[in-house]
Symmetry: C2
Subunit: 445 residues, 2 copies
């Protein structure tokens, strides 16, 4: 109850009463503060953040979405910014740096202690989008010749700065990874058992691998972490399950936004400026509406047909709507299957063959169910036109919806960009052509 | 290289040559087998599964999507099914049982050993969809009076069956949770330090909490696990990060499918039967197309207007397309924000006020940019109609797209169901009304 009062004070209380706000902060959890920051304006956020004790400020800062974190930095004194950046884990720091302009990054890098600067510079040396920038360079490795007891002593001695103690790569000569072991296995083993006998084969991730691909492997394998190695198989870092899950979640947020025809906001909706919301949508909207001017051209070409049978116009929104829906269903399914690696670009023909049949079945079923009502409403001729059209459009829409995301992936374009709304627009124009051609043929006009 | 050959043998090799298939299985990882099962037909899947050594078969089975796992069970002898089910972790077993018909579950439950049956029955006693069914009842608890050394000894002795050793709830009298500690902190502490001094405040999840909500809390807090307690605060299980991440991933897959107007397949796309794909789409398609017959009615009402100015017909697909896109953008953004708890139903008015302005800005910008080309194409009167219409439709579409998912959530309907395609369809019909009314007013017809 005290918590709820505190939350509402923090969200709507007067901003000049700093002592009340500070007290309210004491009554809520760090995760509540993070959620709150996603609902408030930037000024309130900056004030509340400055009221947090240092330890809590760091915990909150680490959990903020990148868009919010960078904005918050702009409201703090340089000295405070340096402190915060110094205390971040190297991989979190690099994730933040990826959001900032190069000159800011450079300045922040110079402000770091020698050790942290070196760790950070190493990660920044790997290409953008590679797992090298997301791994942790602060790991504990054990040797295959150690006994379980020795390994545990080593972990106790070296563990204070490590990202995790629970996953331990096993290194041989020249830091080459020869295995991996979990703390669980060390702890449950006989103290004199040798690491080389206890370890298992590791999942190895190359430091240059794309982050999303690496993340998918870690999450699919359901392991605490994996070893990250360079081209000679030498250990350079570890990549943890929670970081992998966060990368996949961000990728899914991006896919979800683009499937809806917008760019991701990269910060909580209610905290974003109105123009930032407009900006995230306006570009794709113009592209889509620009493409849909094609429908104007098609209708212009077939205007004489429409003049002869105005009844045809009645069904246009419904027909292209059906095509858009069937296309969206296929596109969404395939975009998702690509994201989870269930389907790959080389499966194009399998997908195409499936979707052609699925689309024909869906369109044909719709057409047959609608035939009798249409016949009663506008007569057998137009009902027949509708049946043929919806079957053809359904087949086309599903095939296009299935094929385009695969083509996009093959061309290294994000499939989510060209999925649902893009395909609806494409199907609108071609669907109209199909409709008018079938109408001309059946009605003899 | 050997791995790649083996994979292609497994995917396309002749199914009668069991020894070659068996050898090829030896050359690939468990995760590759899981991926392969998502690409093959059910017969090949059943044969390959039976060729796997028992240990590997269990690992593969645990990683299969529920739809595949249940199908596979149908192809195995009863005895083999019992073995597999016996070896699953209790929470994985219950997840599988949730997919099966009640009479099958009952039979499988009777085949379990006494200990496993009891653990499973406990989980099955919690309501469907609650975290009680997804938690692990095999945890290790420590007492606040133990020293770190004693706690480690206890973990060594009790750890063999536990789901994790890394998160340890601390129990007081009557199993009431008084804290939590990580193995890391025990290992790095002085051996004589007391658990009560080392432990931190736990995140407590109630056993009846909805699984998705609990999962979101665990992932947001980025903790290895949380304690699950009953209404008296007594420990009943733990809920781990990886299980939470899997629940969120399944929820996102469901949202993604529904945003595209289909039900989730619950198994990999290429492995699903054609009719299963049709079935996942046909219901929503009929609902959407059924709703879109409204557009036929609207056009019928305004047929006289259309007859007087056939030029109006040219722009119908483009206008309703623009409305559909603006509505989809808003719906997708808000559905996602609801899923991540950034926005709640009580934020309705904040969202509505934002989306009204965003929609007006987007529609107005589109209208202004299109005004001059439209004027040149069809003259100033219709250009003006288009400008007014697209602004009005944009405002309406964004507001409806933002509000409907919130309304759905408040009414305990999945917001993803009523998002993009549903809203496009709604905006189609109302958009037409707006268009014709504005046209009548401006053109004076």
């Amino acid at each position: 109850m005290a918590e709820r009062t505190a939350l509402s004070t923090l969200e709507t209380g007067t901003m000049s009463d700093l002592s009340t706000l500070g007290q309210a902060l004491g009554d809520v959890r760090d995760s509540d503060v993070v959620a709150l920051f996603g609902r408030t304006g930037s000024r309130r956020r900056a004030i509340l953040f400055r009221l947090l004790p240092k330890e809590r400020a760091l915990a909150v800062f680490e959990s903020l979405e990148p868009g919010l974190a960078t904005e918050l930095l702009g409201s703090l004194r340089d000295e405070r910014v340096s402190q915060l950046i110094e205390e971040l884990d190297p991989d979190d720091r690099v994730t933040l740096f990826d959001e900032l302009p190069a000159n800011v990054t450079k300045k922040l890098l110079q402000g770091l202690s020698a050790r942290e600067r070196e760790l950070t510079a190493t990660l920044l040396g790997f290409p953008a989008g590679s797992v090298g920038r997301r791994m942790s360079p602060e790991y504990i490795k054990v040797l295959e010749t150690m006994t379980a007891a020795e390994a545990l002593d080593h972990i106790r001695a070296a563990g204070h700065d490590a990202e995790t103690l629970y996953f331990l790569p096993v290194a041989g000569e020249n830091r080459v990874v020869v295995g991996a072991i979990e703390l669980r296995d060390l702890l449950l083993a006989h103290p004199q058992a040798v690491v080389g006998d206890l370890m298992h084969e590791p999942i190895l991730i190359s430091v240059g691998d794309p982050e999303e691909e690496a993340a998918r492997r870690v999450v699919d394998a359901d392991v605490i972490a994996t070893a990250v190695v360079d081209s000679e198989g030498r250990l350079v870092g570890i990549f943890t399950f929670d970081d992998a899950a966060a990368i996949l979640a961000a990728a899914e947020a991006e896919d979800a936004a683009r499937t809806g025809g917008a760019e991701p906001l990269r910060q909580p909706y209610l905290s974003a400026r109105l123009l930032a919301v407009v900006r995230s949508r306006v570009v794709w909207l113009f592209v889509l509406v620009g493409a849909s001017t094609l429908t104007v051209a098609v209708q212009d070409v077939f205007a004489p047909t429409l003049e002869q049978s105005l009844a045809l116009a009645l069904f246009i929104p419904m027909l292209i709507g059906a095509g858009g829906n069937i296309g969206s269903q296929a596109a969404t399914t395939i975009t998702r299957a690509l994201a989870t690696k269930e389907v790959r670009p080389r499966d194009l023909f399998r997908v195409l063959f499936r979707e052609l049949r699925v689309g024909m079945l869906l369109g044909g079923t719709l057409g047959l169910v609608g035939f009798v009502p249409a016949m009663l409403l506008v007569g057998p001729d137009i009902a027949l036109v509708l049946l043929f059209t919806v079957t053809a459009i359904g087949t086309l829409a599903a095939a296009v919806g299935g094929a385009i995301p695969l083509g996009a992936r093959a061309a290294r374009v994000d499939p989510a960009i060209v999925s649902a709304p893009f395909i609806s627009t494409f199907v609108d124009a071609t669907g109209l052509v199909i409709y008018f051609l079938i109408a001309k043929a059946v009605l003899g006009i």
